[in-house]
Homo-oligomer: 587 residues x 2
């Protein structure tokens, strides 16, 4: 690396500067950007392979189009690092002190070059179609570009958007960045079709994009800046909808990521420094889940482990997938279909276990309600990573309890540790009466107790310790905090009742009723949004009684990378702050 | 009509009986079924055109396949009347006394021949794919058939399902019943592609179904029973995924419905007796909405009136659509895309007004959250028909408040009458700060007051009458009931405070705080599910105060055609029952 002022990137502070570069300089720029991305992501963690694959295309885009007048909508936006570097934010990738300055997703508050705040997949075509419609009505002339990965293409909103974008009758440029890989390998008919298109230089029969009504261009050399510039220039200012099917290499320029793409989609800090380290075997809720599933499969239970394109989250790694064979299915980025299919499998006597991240189950509210709950099919859905975090605003995991707990028929279980989780999972798989959702805990992995609870007694809370005056209900992950509050109260001469409510979807009315005898205050704590969540149900139960109730959880807000200690302060999620509230409430 | 025992339908009590019929008898049966459907639907109201179009195909299906071993999954299931008649439920169509015995949708509780309870579109392929996966794992051999209309095909879940169904590698038969019409005319690239396929007898280039990976058959004569039988027999027991693209005529056999398909998709009771009546001009919230939009368009406001394939609900009838031209867009059955596109339009300075039925906004939770709220784009979304009804379980409209009101940034307004509604609509269109959802009222159409409220004062409730002891908050449609409760209280010597809270998404804390001075009890009433709704937020506000709170609304349950008076009794939604509760609570 040349550490002098002769670097091309030093000259580039906006897309206008890109337009002044020679082809050779652009290739140098690509190398410099790639090197910076590798270094930065290896320090902070983040999306790795997708960004390395889109460097040249991003340079060509900014060479040809005129952002921010022309609008580039990034799908998922985890391919936006090169774009950020070329639109005035390169210091976030070059200066280690500023590595955390910018979010890993497009963010209009950072620059006009980012049109939307985006972190969920498959939205770009719909959003771009809206921009195009607005432009046409108001009388603009700019290019509207949606940049979507092949993995995102199978999500329902993307396909809905492609359908309508095709008939807008005006400028809309959809760039399908086909790197032959979602997070995990792609799935389904569209994936096989894209492979055929790649293998025939875009000329195979039954072209799906042409079927939708798009003019179609294939470019195999997605890292050839000149060819990209030529093609982008050709479609620039088109008066009709166009698809550019662009073949790139995920992880381009970092050999291990090119050859082994799944683990390099997103990497942890310093991952690249440990490439040759012996992998330490580890246990987490994902591997526990996978182990349970494998055991049941071996016992002959007709389990189908399902993932909507995020298998690593739930421990569904390649060797596991291979071992259980047709007991595993990745449905691609398609949460709606995943829930519908799970309901179908359960209806036919199979035992689906669908693992979804909290932030992405949002895609499937209607399917949870109509395909699953209304049909009362005994599928098991595992919600991973639910809780209050310092995540980007696009990936918050605080909404799943309000989302799921108000749907009839569903049993939403919130275990507080490993033994409860495994017991619940086993109960869910063995029963045939309820659609069951389990919020996989973020705590209690070292718990070695043996749980023997009968979870078929729906809405039967666990009375962990009977005390008086104050009762604390700590749901799921929040049970730990409930116990800490107890200690604080003990120090203040109060021996509170401690309850593990387990069920986010209902109340143990008998137990709650009994608390009225010798309690003045009930506290609920949940690891998610209070509005519409579990605690409010408890508060309503006591609406006309003399019981006072305090609900803890996160507020109704989108937080964006706010540190946990700040959130805990804001939401009063510390023993000290809760103690203060208790004293204020009951003296 | 022959009113003797010689009718073919008298012999048909199950699919087995269909298999015994001659071709001639099957045609006679089709005539008899069609006549019965026309008479029945004209009496009870219901889905008309779709069912008339599928009579012959249903007979052929039951002739060839072996339901309930072979499984037919109906999409939306508003094409299931002929299927119901052939699977032991014909009396519900022949005997006027039993016309209401069966639901208008598939319902497993009625018979094993119905696999799922379905009323939302685009789910059949996903559900069928699940059945196929379950079958393959358990070792069954039956045929799995998804029957999906062309209109449903553009919904994201259908396309996600097609993608995965294509690569299951086993028996899956998708019948696309293409009658060239959704509820309103179809939209988008897929629709234009289907037209091309129809016009070329299925032989045009770039076949989308082949692109997905399906074996493809086109049958133009979707009312030719022999040809249908031949084709169904050919694909029966196939070992791979097949699409049958079947052309039928919506409304077949009832000429006015064949030529004018949109108004005959679903008809009101006795509609067919009034075909030649002069149409009375009428005003409802739909026509008010359309009139407002047209006026604004004429004033030069860049409004885009949007509908996801249900334009009549919001008064977007063909003459209106023609008059406002490119200010109207029907995006087809694609609620997710609709919200994403609305956000894009608003981002580009347009003024989208998206009208969606309460039951179907469920499809777009994630888009409301991520595409819209997170981006804070000032789109206007109108929720039609929200409230507690005697509807089928598949079309309940009680969940939209819990769904929407817990998403950050969104302002969810619940007007109580016409003047408030129009004022809110105008405010929403004129502002640029908030994503606004308005729950179009079901009451107050005859209100002639002039509302001058400033709705930009977010969460400022309307204090309608200041009283004491009891305060009643009646949200939206429920404000009427609040006023009736006041009368009851007046009769009992209490002069309550009456509040119109307007905002389902927040609290007027100042006003609620002030109630503590001289009130003992606060009552909330909302026209929807209590769990996760508006009232619980009020209850939480008073959690540690001495205020007692009672929340009214519907329970967390799927009700199925339960009469309103029964629901009112169950939920205590009458002045008398609420008065009783008040007396019990505060003596």
């Amino acid at each position: 690396m040349i550490e002098t002022a002769t670097k091309v990137i030093d000259k580039v502070n906006s897309p206008d500067d890109v337009k002044k570069l020679s082809l050779e300089e652009m290739y140098t720029l690509a190398d410099e950007m790639r090197e910076a991305i590798i270094k930065k992501v290896n320090t902070t963690g983040g999306h790795f392979g997708p960004n390395l694959g889109i460097v040249e295309a991003t340079i060509a885009l900014h060479y040809v189009f005129n952002s921010p007048v022309d609008k580039i909508v990034f799908d998922v936006s985890h391919q936006c690092y090169p774009h950020k570097m070329l639109t005035g934010r390169k210091e976030g990738f070059l200066n280690p002190d500023l590595y955390l300055k910018y979010t890993g997703y497009t963010a209009p508050e950072e620059t006009d070059h980012d049109v939307f705040k985006v972190g969920h997949t498959s939205t770009s075509v719909s959003l771009a179609t809206g921009l195009a419609k607005g432009r046409d009505l108001i009388g603009g002339k700019e290019n509207i570009i949606a940049l979507i990965g092949d993995g995102s293409l199978t999500g329902g909103e993307a396909l809905e958007g492609l359908n309508i974008g095709a008939t807008l009758g005006s400028n809309l440029i959809v760039i399908v960045n086909d790197n032959d890989q979602s997070i995990a390998p792609n799935q389904g008919g569209i994936c096989e079709h894209l492979t055929k298109l790649r293998n025939t230089n875009g000329e195979c029969k039954d072209n799906i994009f042409k079927a939708f009504g798009y003019e179609y261009y294939y470019i195999d050399e997605g890292h050839d800046i000149q060819k990209l510039i030529d093609l982008f220039s050709k479609v620039k200012d088109t008066d009709h909808p166009v698809v550019i099917h662009m073949h790139t290499i995920k992880g381009k320029g970092f050999e291990p990521a090119e050859t082994n793409r799944e683990p390099f989609h997103w990497i942890l800090p310093n991952a690249l420094d440990k490439l040759n380290d012996e992998k330490e075997p580890y246990v987490d809720y994902g591997t526990l889940t996978a182990d349970y599933i494998e055991q049941k499969v071996n016992e002959g239970v007709p389990i189908v482990a399902m993932s909507p394109a995020t298998p690593a989250v739930s421990g569904f790694f390649p060797p596991f997938r291979e071992r259980i064979g047709n007991h595993y299915i990745d449905v691609g980025i398609a949460e709606q279909h995943a829930v519908g299919m799970a309901s179908g499998i359960a209806k036919r006597g199979g035992k689906p276990i669908l693992a979804v991240m909290s932030s992405f189950i949002q895609r499937a509210y209607d399917q949870l309600s109509q395909d699953l709950a209304l049909n009362n099919t005994p599928a098991t859905i595992l919600i991973f990573w639910g809780g209050i975090t310092n995540a980007d605003a696009t990936h918050l995991t605080t909404f799943d309890i309000p989302l799921i707990s108000n749907i009839p028929n569903i049993v939403y279980l919130c275990p507080t540790n490993k033994s409860e989780y495994l017991r619940m999972l086993d109960w869910s798989v063995s029963q045939n009466e309820h659609p069951v959702v389990i919020r996989v805990p973020m705590v209690g992995l070292d718990d070695e107790t043996i749980d023997t609870t009968d979870y078929s007694k729906i809405n039967k809370f666990k009375l962990v310790e009977r005390g008086e005056k104050v009762a604390i209900l700590g749901l799921g992950n929040s049970f730990e905090l409930a116990k800490k509050v107890r200690s604080k109260l003990n120090d203040n001469g109060i021996n509170p009742t401690i309850i593990n409510p387990i069920y986010a979807t209902g109340l143990d009315k008998e137990l709650l009723e009994s608390l009225k005898q010798n309690h003045k205050l009930v506290i609920t704590i949940e690891d998610g949004e209070i509005d519409g969540g579990f605690g409010e149900k408890v508060t309503r139960f006591y609406g006309v009684s003399d019981m006072k109730v305090l609900n803890y959880g996160s507020f109704k807000e989108f937080t964006d990378r706010v540190p946990m200690n700040e959130l805990e302060k804001r939401y009063h999620l510390t023993p000290e702050l809760i103690l203060g509230d208790i004293i204020k409430a009951i003296g």
